[in-house]
């Protein structure tokens, strides 16, 4: 009997290594991925003016994607299937459909990494090239082609790419849009030179060159000149003479950028300058002027204190891979011009959001974050956190090239401007302070105040010659009460006060959480101050969600407020709607 047991034991011991060994072979290749499906059932809502016909009888909207990545050692390949059946409200109808707009194969050998297929890439801060995607915006400007990363020596990273960009579901065909070529280098001096390896000052230099080739269309423009004729009888007649000209459009439009980052002690300084060649396009009203941009940040921080300053100046920097493309949603962008305002997390502070104006903008931002230490008189037992932020965006000074040609006239140089000139028109201003304090193990509070100035004409309608300002004061109180280790209640009380636009708002949200799985919330945003009494609407929402590891399902029923949804300085217009939204996300 003992013998049998012993044999059994030996057998088991013999099987274990075999089992682990085969698992090792199998685990050489691995598939991972993630999925998100959003479905919306729309209801008629006479208060919001929504009827079946205004919905075009599309009572159900669905946006979904599934990503799969296969990895085996230094090789990986992946794809993303997307479906918009029908696109949810606020997404361009051209997205309707189902397909695979993104796939890639990538391998790495030694210091070389090579991607074929679709890819995302960024040079520097993106002033001349950035391809990226943001699902919630329906934004995707992936590049389809080849991308190479090469690091010949330590501290040097070279990148090169060639490809065409995504345009909804329309495949690239001969000449239907431009080809993007780019080259970029990063040089980390402290890694490259041993003499600098020990230096406390770290210096990185970088530069990029990007070019777009496009078979240009035959485009003409006309200019009218009026004159008055007087005949022999003394009668006057007014004549208009219209002359048609052909645009002189370049096949190749180049751009370049140079950048430096210097870090020393708690200081960090970043500067990037970019220039773009003559690029008449639909966004800049077909002017021949060159573009330029500068983006710079300076920060100092030490434990408990952070200071941040940023500035930028942008002149005629819209850069797309098709010159006739403009408008919303923004498609075929080659570059990215960061908005210089803070992205706010509270809903009332995003009623009036900001996005970069690519044709000309000056911006500045300052931020201070300070932590009043624990166990001090003001800080209390847990410390108190203070954040102050100020940002401002203004026009740049544009002067006519001559007395008889108005600024921005098609087929001309457009205008004259001095480097870093600042115009008179304010686009946006935001001043905000926030205090955060934990009172005891049960109660946490955040208190915030925002003062925003929003130029509605500029931001919503691209009207630059007349301002329509909205001045808003916003207050937020965010309280969390923890009943025990798992149960907590959160309350957000917000108020937005303005005499302009849609008037005052009040918002209340209550959220009950049961960690790690459940949340329930009720919310109401009430536009009680709307000057139009029938538009004094309650935007109510009921939500519930369930998390299980990396799976999450949530349900929301209620009204969606009309407005701009902005992520990373790019905005999408979301129309008002009423209905039930189901969101399912999962990663594996």
């Amino acid at each position: 009997m003992k013998k049998i047991i012993l044999i059994n034991l030996l057998l088991i011991l013999a099987i274990i290594p075999v089992f682990t060994f085969s698992q090792d072979i199998l685990s050489g290749g691995k598939v991972t991925g993630n999925v998100q499906i959003d479905g919306q059932f729309y209801s008629e809502d006479s208060k919001l003016g929504i009827s079946d016909s205004s919905l075009n009888y599309k009572k159900f909207g669905m946006n979904g994607f599934a990503n799969f990545i296969y990895t085996n050692g230094d090789f990986s390949a992946g794809m993303r299937a997307e479906g918009f059946l029908n696109p949810m409200l606020g997404f361009d109808p051209r997205y309707e459909g189902y397909g695979v707009p993104y796939w890639f194969a990538k391998y790495k050998t030694g210091s070389l990494e090579m991607t074929a297929g679709h890819f995302y890439e960024q040079f520097g801060s993106g002033l001349v090239l950035r391809s990226w995607e943001e699902w919630t915006l329906g934004y995707d400007n992936n590049i389809y082609g080849f991308n190479v990363h090469f690091s010949p020596i330590k501290g040097v990273m070279l990148k090169g790419l060639v490809g065409t960009q995504r345009y909804f579901w329309e495949p690239y065909e001969n000449s239907n849009r431009g080809i993007v070529r780019g080259f970029d280098g990063d040089f980390y001096l402290n890694d490259m030179f041993e003499s600098l390896a020990e230096s406390k000052t770290k210096i990185d230099l970088g530069g990029s060159f990007v070019s777009r080739y496009e078979k240009v269309p035959n485009l003409t423009f006309s200019r009218d000149s009026a004159y008055i004729q007087i005949n022999e009888l003394g009668d006057t007649s007014e004549w208009i003479q219209r002359t048609t000209y052909q645009y002189d459009l370049p096949y190749n439009v180049g751009s370049w950028a140079a950048r430096a980052n210097i870090a020393s002690g708690g200081f960090n300084f970043y500067l990037e300058y970019a220039q773009k060649g003559n690029d008449p396009n639909a966004t800049n009203n077909y002017i021949y002027k060159k573009g330029s941009a500068v983006y710079s940040t300076l920060s100092y921080s030490t434990k408990g204190l952070g200071l941040f300053l940023a500035t930028k100046w942008i002149d005629n920097m819209s850069y797309k891979s098709k010159l006739t493309e403009s408008g919303n949603p923004p498609m075929l962008d080659i570059n990215y011009l960061p908005a210089i305002t803070k992205e706010q997390p509270y809903s009332m502070a995003t009623v009036y959001p900001y996005a970069t104006k690519q044709n000309g903008e000056f911006g500045v931002q300052a931020q201070v974050a300070y932590n009043i230490p624990k166990n001090s008189a003001v800080g209390g037992k847990y410390g108190t956190n203070l954040t102050f932020n100020y940002s401002l965006a203004k026009s740049i000074q544009k002067d006519p090239i001559s007395a008889d040609i108005p600024v921005d006239s098609s087929g001309t140089e457009g205008y004259k401007t001095n480097f870093f000139s600042i115009g008179d028109l304010t686009y946006y201003q935001d001043f905000n302070v926030m205090a955060e304090k934990k009172f005891n193990s049960k109660v946490k509070a955040k208190l915030a105040y925002f003062n925003q100035t929003y130029n509605k004409n500029v931001i919503e309608d691209d009207i630059f010659d007349e301002e329509e300002m909205v001045h808003a004061n916003i207050g937020v109180l965010d309280l969390t009460y923890k009943f025990d280790a798992k149960n907590s209640l959160r309350m957000e009380l917000q108020g937005l006060f303005t005499k302009e636009d849609k008037g005052d708002w009040a918002a209340l949200m209550l959220e009950y959480n049961v960690s790690p799985s459940w949340f329930f919330s009720v919310q109401d945003e009430f536009n009680y101050g709307n000057p139009v009494s029938t538009d004094q609407i309650h935007y109510y929402n009921f939500s519930l969600g369930y998390n299980e590891g990396s799976n999450r399902i949530s349900l929301r029923y209620g009204r969606q407020r009309e407005g701009l949804l902005c992520v990373g300085g790019v905005c999408r217009y979301v129309p008002a709607s009423t209905g039930l939204t189901i969101t399912l996300t999962s990663s594996f």
Partner: protein, 170 residues
């Protein structure tokens, strides 16, 4: 002998069942070139902790639950290190609009965990992250063994439980 065998066998069953239901390898940490908080190149294969577990959280300065998660962890991070030796990497997916303000914010908040910058979402895509916050736990061998989407007040208690299980599973 019989008892010993039974004990060994049940231990084997227990650990197998245990490791399969709770701590199993989901995938290996991918190798992606991103940046550390100072803007220097950093490869994600270097997310290590001398053979001890690592917590990776994806976050952004504009993400409310992420900030709450980090504030909550910051309060107890010292205790976590003392208890388990765990290390946390907070990967910011802020783009170039706000990535340069991450370090002053982290310092201003007094957070002591390591912070990385994933400006264009390369690491985010490789890790199949939909939206922040998304938290991973990596064992000492660089294998992702657990992941969690979203943050609800008190979730951090589960993170440290998993870390302790990972330490035991070794």
């Amino acid at each position: 002998m019989k008892k010993l065998f039974l004990a060994a066998f049940s231990l084997l069953i227990f650990t197998t069942a245990f490791s399969q239901s709770e701590i199993k390898t989901l995938f290996n940490l991918p190798s992606v070139d991103i940046k550390n908080v100072k803007g220097e190149p950093f490869n994600t294969k270097n997310i290590t902790n001398n053979g001890k577990p690592v917590i990776i959280t994806f976050w952004a300065t504009w993400c409310k639950p992420c900030m709450k998660e980090h504030d909550a962890i910051s309060d107890i991070y010292d205790d976590w290190i003392k208890e388990t030796g765990v290390k946390m990497y907070a990967v910011s997916i802020d783009n170039s609009r706000s990535s340069k303000s991450v370090q002053p914010l982290v310092n201003g908040k007094g957070w002591e965990f390591d912070v990385l910058l994933d400006e264009n979402g390369e690491f985010k895509r490789a890790m199949n992250v939909n939206v922040p916050p998304h938290t991973f736990i990596v064992n000492g061998k660089g294998e992702v063994v657990w992941q969690h989407v979203g943050y609800l007040e008190g979730d951090e208690a589960e993170y440290i439980e998993i870390v302790k299980k990972v330490l035991k599973a070794k």
